[in-house]
Amino acid sequence: MHRKLDYPKMLIHLFFIAVTLGMLIPFVLVIMISITDEASIAKYGYRLWPDSFDFTAYRYVVQSPALLFRAYGVTILVTVVGTLLSLLAMAMIAYVLSRRDYAYNRQTTFLIFFTLLFSGGLVPYYMLMAQALHLKDTVWAMILLPTLVHPLHVLILRTFLRTLPLEIIESAKMDGAREYRIFFSLIVPLSAPALVTLTLLVSIVYWNEWLNAVLFIENDRLFPLQLLLVRMMANSHFLQTSTAFISGISFDSAASFPVLSARMTVALLAGGPMMVVFPVFQKYFVKGLTLGSIKS
């Protein structure tokens, strides 16, 4: 068959190639800055193609990885524990709310969803965490987020659970199974698709969380990655003055430290892995979005 040139399609491709470049060039710039010679930055500023390459910043970070490792450890701990607690609490309440025969369904629904409509705001929450519960400088300050039980996530889960056939629950009850057994050995495995999507959504929130860290964490041994980035942005000499970082490297003179490229290096090492990990799960995202949109 004779093939015609498809001009509209070509235009669309051109358009999206331009958009893709627009999306990626900022990342290329940051990567390039991290491997640019400090003297070259001082002379020419940031460039997409550096005047002279230099990997000193990476060498410093590899020599003294303690600071970054610690921050990674805190972030991973907070993300894992927070996501687990959050999903457990939300799955349990979503199951209860999906049971139309539950006597206190209306009251419980109201109690959970009212928090979406009205909240005390920043200060009362701050007072609760800092003054009443004394959670300053503890990992719990970063785990017990206001969104640990998130009404919209509960709603997505409940909607999904209501699509499961009631008969399985009925027959399990006939066999004399208790509710918690039904929940853990029947409901949890059956709702795996919805739980995977929620795991993704919740873990991104925990991984990127910075406000609670800024509000409650002063001890630099408990700094998560995001707080490290906040401090480094506010103070460009943060790395040089951090004892955890400095103690790991033999330092001739402070003047030779590549301040500007090292900032971007740490930013890349802190954020980069997520940009590789999350797109892998893209298809679960799509699945979850379709789950959320079928609302009965």
């Binding site: 999206f16 710039l29 109690l111 005390g120 200060v123 990127n208 942005m233 900032r263 379709t290």
Partner: protein
């Protein structure tokens, strides 16, 4: 059954009531137990803080505590509303919010329809590229914007120098910031919303498209007469959810991307950043609480309005 037990007179009404409640509870106690962790959590972290809202009407002193501090009536609100700050940050919050909402929805809708015209493999590659910034935190994004906007080394100023133009100190120029913030917001979120619409298109695809194709509809006709109208309900739902959240500013975006530069507050400050400054920089606990309360009440009104609008539009999607 207990309630039909003979020999219990009228005087026992209360006991019978309690007994009935007790049987209901006995029947539901296992499910109740399952709901307890979440209920306890929201009571502690969402309901108990509501009592803290009294701070909006008090002159808080740490030594006197929440309940010991003196009542000051509406002084904290007066401080906020008498200055032009209240108007400024409310205007910024609402206008930025509306622009973000309409912009992402319109662009994402067009992007998704265009993506649908190319082969699925290509569409997936473009989507992955567009989705990358979505996973970053705002603080990380601020490193990217700093690479462009920094006065001394920024890429934008290097470009200006190449064009023999004067470099600009972007963090001192409030007038350009609506444009910068809007661009950064679109860059970060457009991929996510385009994905939502693209998924929506996949959902409607098969039935209607086939019929139209058999009838000999052109691609343009299919996009404009079938895909676009069928995406409208999804767009409307997203719009209404967005309207409900308009009173909440985008804290991370408005705090980190302008580098918290005080010179830019006139065009970048939103209610959230204002309350944060009141708490952290000024230590004005009473005023920060008052601003938070103002935001919560405003937010509630917007949600009620949005839900009312959904009910008019399609009762299926309203929250209650």
């Amino acid at each position: 059954m207990a309630k039909h037990r003979p020999g219990i007179g009228r005087g026992m009404g209360l006991g019978r009531f309690a007994k009935k409640r007790w049987t209901v509870f006995q029947k539901n106690k296992e499910l109740f137990a399952l709901s307890l962790p979440a209920i306890t959590y929201v009571i502690v972290f969402a309901y108990i803080p509501l009592f803290g809202l009294v701070l909006a009407f008090k002159n808080f002193r740490f030594d006197l505590g929440i309940f010991g501090s003196k009542w000051v009536g509406f002084d904290n609100f007066k401080f906020f509303f008498v200055s032009d700050q209240a108007f400024l940050v409310t205007r910024n919050t609402l206008m930025y919010g509306a622009a973000y909402l309409l912009g992402t929805l319109a662009f994402a809708l067009v992007f998704a329809i265009m993506l649908n015209e190319v082969a699925q493999r290509a569409a997936k590659a473009y989507q992955t590229a567009m989705l990358l910034p979505f996973f970053l935190s705002w603080i990380l994004v601020s490193y990217v914007t700093d690479a462009f906007l920094n006065h001394h080394e920024g890429y934008l100023n290097e470009m200006l120098k190449l064009l023999a133009a004067e470099p600009v100190d972007w963090y001192l120029e409030p007038a350009v910031w609506p444009f910068i913030l809007y661009t950064v917001y679109l860059w970060k979120t457009i991929g996510f919303y385009a994905l939502i619409f693209y998924t929506g298109i996949m959902g409607i695809e098969s039935e209607y498209r086939e019929a139209a194709r058999i009838d000999g509809a052109s691609r343009w006709q299919m996009a404009s007469r079938i895909t676009f109208p069928l995406l409208m309900p999804l767009a409307a739902v997203l719009l209404i959810i967005g309207v409900g959240g308009l009173f909440r500013g985008n804290f991370g975006l408005h705090y980190f991307i302008p580098n918290d530069s005080p010179f830019l507050y006139s065009t970048t400050d939103v209610i959230d950043t204002y309350a944060y400054h009141a708490l952290r920089k000024l230590g004005e606990i009473g005023m920060a609480t008052a601003v938070g309360l103002y935001q919560s009440v405003g937010g509630l009104l917007f949600v009620l309005f949005a839900n009312y609008a959904v009910r008019k539009f399609s009762a299926d999607h309203s929250l209650w």
